[in-house]
Amino acid sequence: MSNELTPNENPVVQHEPRATDTNPKAEKRAEQQVAILFGLSALGSILLVYSYVFVTKDVFIFIPVMGNQNAQQLGIGIGMAMSLFFIGMAAIHWAKTLMSDTEVVNHRHEFRSSDQDREEFVQTVKQGVAGVQLGRRKLIKRSLGAAIGLFAVPPVLLLRDLGPLPKKQLETTNWKPGTRLVTDPGNRPILASDLEVGAVVQVLPAVENSDERPLSDIAKDPVLLIRLRPQDFQLTPEKFAMTHDGIIAFSKICSHMGCAVALYEQQTKHLLCPCHQSTFDVPRGAKVIFGPAARPLPQLDITVDSEGYLIARAAFSEPVGPSFWERNSQ
């Protein structure tokens, strides 16, 4: 591909001279403007250095609209912006007003190689392939296939130890028959009588060392306790038996994608997931009434122990959280 330059043979459009091409005063002015722009850039750099070295971290200045701003961060930022922006503007202004603005023409050529080159290419490849003699060497061909097939296995296998096998981790939680419900945060057991109608409490299963609770447990154990009036419920007898004196407990982990279902509307008694707006109707056993979730939130069977504290009567009867391939219940 050649790149010889030919002047733009343009029969119609003439090259319009700029003011700076014809008027020495305009030329001088453009030169000064470029110099001013470079000067502004230098000023920005100085502002950056000054703010970095001399402005302390705890100085705040008030700027209309923006409010109180950290003077150091702002000085460094504005200084850096100026130092960069004005170098660019100066270079562009220079190019547009003072550098030559005549357009030139390059020629294009078709990308397709010449027929001769293509023919020779085919010959070269054919010769090369023939030299390999794969067609005649059956034994090599087969063993090569086997080697390459096996060769792909180790790299995949080596990734195996990235993590443990899932086992039953997605199906189980730390809720067991008799586990006390404790507040989160606070880690206090809850007396059923302390909950008033309309109350909402986030709870976790009581464990021995609550400070060491791994995040993977907090990703599946949280439960929301909500107290309604017993006559508000519209539940099947089995589900109703899982409540205690108007207190109903649901997994807080959304059955859609596992976000925390944290928004409870007192008026409508709806639970709303802030991620994708799945809406669950509490009196009807967290039935999905809107949004993409396909299953109600799993309900935890609760009762009280001899001291009146809330406990789980049984573990969750289905996996909590988002669906997965091995999940085996409706």
Partner: protein, 528 residues
Amino acid sequence: MTPAEKTIGTVANYVDERIGAAGWVKKSLNKVFPDHWSFMLGEVCMYSFIILLLSGTFLTFWFDPSQRDVIYEGVYAPLKGLKMSAAYASTLDISFEVRGGLLMRQIHHWAANIFMAAIVAHLLRVFFTGAFRKPREFNWILGILLLTLGFVEGLFGYSLPDDLLSGTGLRITSAIIQAIPVVGTYISFFLFGGAFPGVGFIPRIFTLHVLLIPGAFLAVITIHVMLVWYQKHTQFPGVGRTEKNVVGHPILPVYMAKAGGFFFVVFGVIAFLSAIASINPIWLYGPYTPGQISAGSQPDWYMGWLDGLVRMAPPLETHAFGHTVSWNILIPALIVPGIVFTGMALYPFIESWITGDKREHHLLDRPRNVPNRTALGVMSVTFVMVALINGGNDIFATNFSLSINEIMWFSRIGIFVLPPLAFIITKRLCLSLQRADRDLLLHGTETGRLLRLPHGEFVEVHAPISAEKAFILQSHEQATSLEIEEVDSRGVRRPGSFKNKIQRRLSRAHAVAVPKVTDQELKEIEHH
């Protein structure tokens, strides 16, 4: 010869005697780049990528990519004494204790948003002007690859600080992975190093975010730009511009000064934004714990349309043979994006199959002259916009006092109705614009001057348009449809006639156009 020239000459001689560079450097310096504002969109992508490399390197000097628990003892009082991951604590330190650290974090995040926005704008420019046609199909595919890499890199990037918002994003990511039939649960456990949130995900995505993906970016961007260089840039039609040439300013000095200057302008603008506009204030969100969430959780804007699709999905799950398939996740989060990206990558080949056009194209199309393609583009943009609106349905609902359920239903219906509507309207608009071009050529521009003729009639005087403009209006090709005979010369149906039928239908739809002005018409109009 001045002393400076002599020194440069000596160095140049030294280099040239060893690698013989004079020839190709000379050619390269004379390389011509055509000028148009829209050609700078690709430059913005490249420059913001360089800014990302620089600011990202700065951040790695302090960032600790670890999920190990630490107690925060830094200067930000509201979080003092809280248990959090080292990743989150070090991000707080960068924001509050490293001078200029917050600025760099904000530059990195703003540059990422601008990088993605520039890629999308560049992609739309290339699509609507037909710059992807032969011989540039490879570069189109590389561009789609870069866009896809950008999604992953962006997601990983804003997940690194391990704050409550990004952790919620990862929770959703893990749910998407889990939803993959058969292998999903295993992949999720391997990636996260156990049950979500695991112990290994942050350090792992850190390595991917700072090493593997930027490496892939660098390689693909290099090929992308080298192909632009080798194949020479496309140009808009104009007088003196043909399929056989390229008209513009040579690299040295004008283009180099402008492009180099533009890098500094882009960097300056991003620095200014980062100095005055807060982005991702992670200290307000708090450290990640899966039991908590903030209302109005939103991904970065380029992920918003995917989240919007997930939000509008119907609650569909299949339970059978002891297994669960979550269509409500698989369809919006994996299947639809898969179709969208594959369709985009294949579009140059689909269009060339429809038009039967196998020639090289270096002159760009004006979007109105290819109504079908333009309409398809607007249709796709409409699809993404409806999804994006639904992705922010909670924000819209609270800010404009609307019902979230109504926005959701608007989106659920709109995603099917609005894109085809956009297609029809755009196609009609294109044809109207073609008609307007035709009128302009035949009758000239309206001058607003009214003349009263001797017999009392009022007419408006039309002025002829410039030869330059007339040339541009006439420069496109009249679209023709592909005619494939259904039966061959002996009256036997051709094999593959169904495929041919589709091709013929599409080709006809593609070729709908207002007839170009002919010489005869021009002559006739002159006699009036």
